[in-house]
């Protein structure tokens, strides 16, 4: 077994995940790209478990299991946030989310300030 093959696969998958996170506007697609990155890390862990002789047997595979559980938790909370965002804004485009605190006031004033100061960049 040549360990370089799964290692290079994992590196390319990680690069694809980074590209997807930076490129996509839709929040669900961003989460899918995050899943790609987590899977690349899992593949690195399992391959390292097969190639590196460690003191504890199968530590890499145990860590891969832990990362899978973390990914499940992450996707649950992430989708809750995405659905809440959709409920509030009727859109899941991540570059339309205002990152600053919305000014307290009536909604008309909020909309006016958002457009004049350019907080909502389209």
């Amino acid at each position: 077994m040549r360990p370089v093959v799964p290692y290079v696969t994992a590196a390319l998958l990680f690069g694809l995940g980074v590209y997807g996170v930076l490129r996509r506007r839709n929040a669900v697609l961003v989460l899918m790209a995050v899943e790609l990155m987590l899977n690349a890390v899992n593949l690195i862990l399992v391959t390292a478990d097969a190639t590196v002789r460690a003191a504890l047997p199968h530590a890499g595979q145990v860590f891969a299991l832990f990362v899978i559980v973390l990914a499940a938790a992450e996707i649950g909370v992430g989708l809750a946030i995405v659905l809440q965002l959709y409920r509030l804004r009727a859109s899941v485009a991540v570059d339309e989310v205002p990152l600053t605190e919305p000014p307290a006031g009536p909604p008309a004033e909020q909309a006016g300030r958002a457009t004049t100061t350019g907080e909502v960049t389209r």
């Binding site: 093959v5 590209y19 790609l36 399992v46 097969a50 047997p57």
Partner: protein, 191 residues
């Protein structure tokens, strides 16, 4: 090139190709289905690498649960069924950073491992992994259960706007449907 190498190459090519389609396709639903292909190919890679339990957990949790959750989210956000043009930002920086990260890591790992070969390890069956999890790694395991519980509670609280609704506290007459977003924003934006 042994049989394991050929299998690893083929499954890795399938995984990378499907992953590229996930981040480039213009159909939302198809992105989820390509993700199934990618994760399934990765489960095959785990099987070749003799990580049986991880492979089946990957099939169960990723292909079974995570992708279904993602497809639920695609449907609940009323995504268009056909191709949509507004999924992408113009992305030369993304291509630069993503390609740089991927190819840089690949070059690093190729340089580290060259074309060496190792023997396949002992299979990571459920018995061996369970022994490790419940003997050496039992404390992280328990901490992970607490994390899952808190993630569950967090998801429930996030998705119910009637929990944690504040009365109007001098910050102005915030709308009722805006309350959850504002509370989250304040909590996240505070240094």
């Amino acid at each position: 090139m042994t049989g394991a190498d050929v299998l690893l190459l083929a499954l890795g090519a399938v995984a990378v190709g499907a992953g590229a389609l996930v981040v480039t396709t213009r159909h939302l639903v198809r992105a989820g289905l390509y993700l199934v292909v990618c994760l399934g190919a990765l489960a095959g890679v785990y099987l070749v690498l003799a990580a049986e339990l991880v492979a089946w957990v990957q099939v169960l949790i990723y292909v079974g649960a995570v992708v279904v959750l993602l497809l639920f989210a695609v449907m609940l956000t009323r995504a268009p069924i056909g191709a949509s043009d507004d999924l992408d930002r113009p992305g030369w920086p993304a291509a630069l950073i993503g390609g740089g990260a991927g190819l840089g890591l690949a070059a690093l790992l190729v340089d580290a491992y060259r074309w060496t070969r190792v023997d396949l390890p002992t299979p990571g069956t459920a018995e061996r992994l369970g022994e490790q999890v419940f003997r050496t790694w039992v404390l992280p395991f328990e901490v992970l259960s607490v994390l899952l519980l808190s993630a569950l509670v967090g998801a429930v609280v996030l998705s119910r706007p009637d929990i944690g609704r504040r009365p109007a506290d001098g910050r102005g007459p915030a709308r009722a449907d805006n309350q959850g977003w504002g509370a989250k924003d304040r909590a996240g934006g505070r240094p």
